[in-house]
Amino acid sequence: MRRLLILGAGTAGTMLANILRRELSADWAITVVDKDNDHQYQPGYLFIPFGTYTPERVVKPRTRYLPKGVDFVQTGIRKVRAADNEVDLEDGRTLPYDWLLIATGTRPRPDLTPGMADGSLWYKKVFDFYTLEGSSKLHDALEAFEGGKILVQLTDMPIKCPVAPLEFVFLVEDYFRTRRIRHKVDITYVTPLDGAFTKPVASRELGNLMTDRSIRLASDFALEHIDNERQMIVSYDGRELPFDLLVTIPLNTGQQYVFDSGLGDENGFIPVDKQTLRSTQYDNIFVLGDASNIPTSKAGAVAHFGVETFVPNFLAAVEGKPMPNKFDGHANCFVESGRGQALLLDFNYDTQPLTGTFPLPGIGPMKLLGRSRINHMGKLAFEQLYWRMLLPGHKLPVPTLMSMAGKHEEN
């Protein structure tokens, strides 16, 4: 009997369990560990503050999406003892493994910024929307908001779904427009980057859109602390911005057990070979989804492309054969831009998001880096694709590796 252990039953872990149960023979025992039985559709958090989605809508039992023939162990992970090929769990058990797949993602850490989680304004005037609790409470705060200064503020990279803060700022603008109090609301997007996004072409296009919507941009703002008494955010170089409502994206790090196991870098992300996703420390550990340190977006789409590339590699590796595939860091994200429209970004390790059409050159139907209604429909349709196609590990009609077809290069 060979033992495969998967840590985390979120986006990547659930896909892995489904695909590998089909691919591996019955002499493989597959075990999946997660701390609870609530699988949350995280892209849905974005719509909860605006009342478009209810909190109930985004949560479903994990066990419903895990295949037969896989053991689900519901408890916290305490420590990986990689030298012994064992994992200690919070319920006191120890699970041995031959192969370990880590898919425990990343999480927001409002406790790491002074005055954030420990401040008197937390969940009163300061909110995140990267958790179900935060996005639900933000819904009430937005409903009660009648005017004043709103800051949508990004603390530091990397974060999961790096476009989500931008989507939020466009949607919040639209929300107040629809409520007919846009003129009473002053919106600023605050970022430690030198523009709206990390990559130049997208940064320019998204920056222009902010200008069009009268959203202010405060760039190069690295948050040091929140001054709760004066209702201000303060940067390391001493700049101060006042707010009536602060929507913050806290620092994101890997899970505590990753730090405790000595597996992570300073942010708790696990170093891997960026093409094979194999741990640089241990040959029998691979890291899928947000938990690794690969230099591309932390997104469900990347988890998906990563898993597709990984499976044939894993099947080769367990037979002691060379791995056939190389992951290119392909990321593909819809960016909600308000007014019932969205943009689409498609990029990888080497190529930044460009303008053009997707997936068919010249035809689309999706427009890259341009706003369209069909992109927005694509974003909304993704919810059903997620539960019905992605998690069960069915093939989606988009290419795994990024293609330059249909993209406009500029220099």
Binding site: L193, E224, D237
Partner: protein
């Protein structure tokens, strides 16, 4: 690949002016680069630069501010004082390292 020449020393850079070959760097060159952006190097300034050189030699990547804080023990606020505005970028440039990619 463009080359730059500064005080008779030639080195390779990318289109944003960051070094592409870390071995072409020396402290003298770093000090000359710093002068171009109005920074006068003293012991306080060299601390984080030397840490960045050593750390990146091991890891292959330019350390981020957070890594300078958690692993190097430097105070981020202090780094903003020494290298005003964009410390991570400025320090990487002076240290002859690639632009930090902490931002994906």
């Amino acid at each position: 690949m463009p080359t730059n020449t500064l005080n008779e020393r030639t080195f390779h850079v990318n289109d944003e002016g960051f070094f592409t070959n870390r071995d072409e760097w020396s402290e003298e060159l770093g000090a000359d680069l710093a002068a171009l952006i109005d920074i006068e190097m003293d012991e306080e300034h060299w601390g984080p630069i030397r840490f960045m050189r050593e750390d990146s030699a091991k890891s292959g990547v330019t350390p981020t501010l957070r890594r300078l804080q958690t692993v190097g023990g430097f105070d981020i606020k202090e780094l903003y004082r020494l290298y005003p505005g964009k410390p991570a970028k400025k320090m990487a440039w002076i240290a002859g390292l690639p632009k930090p990619v902490g931002c994906v």
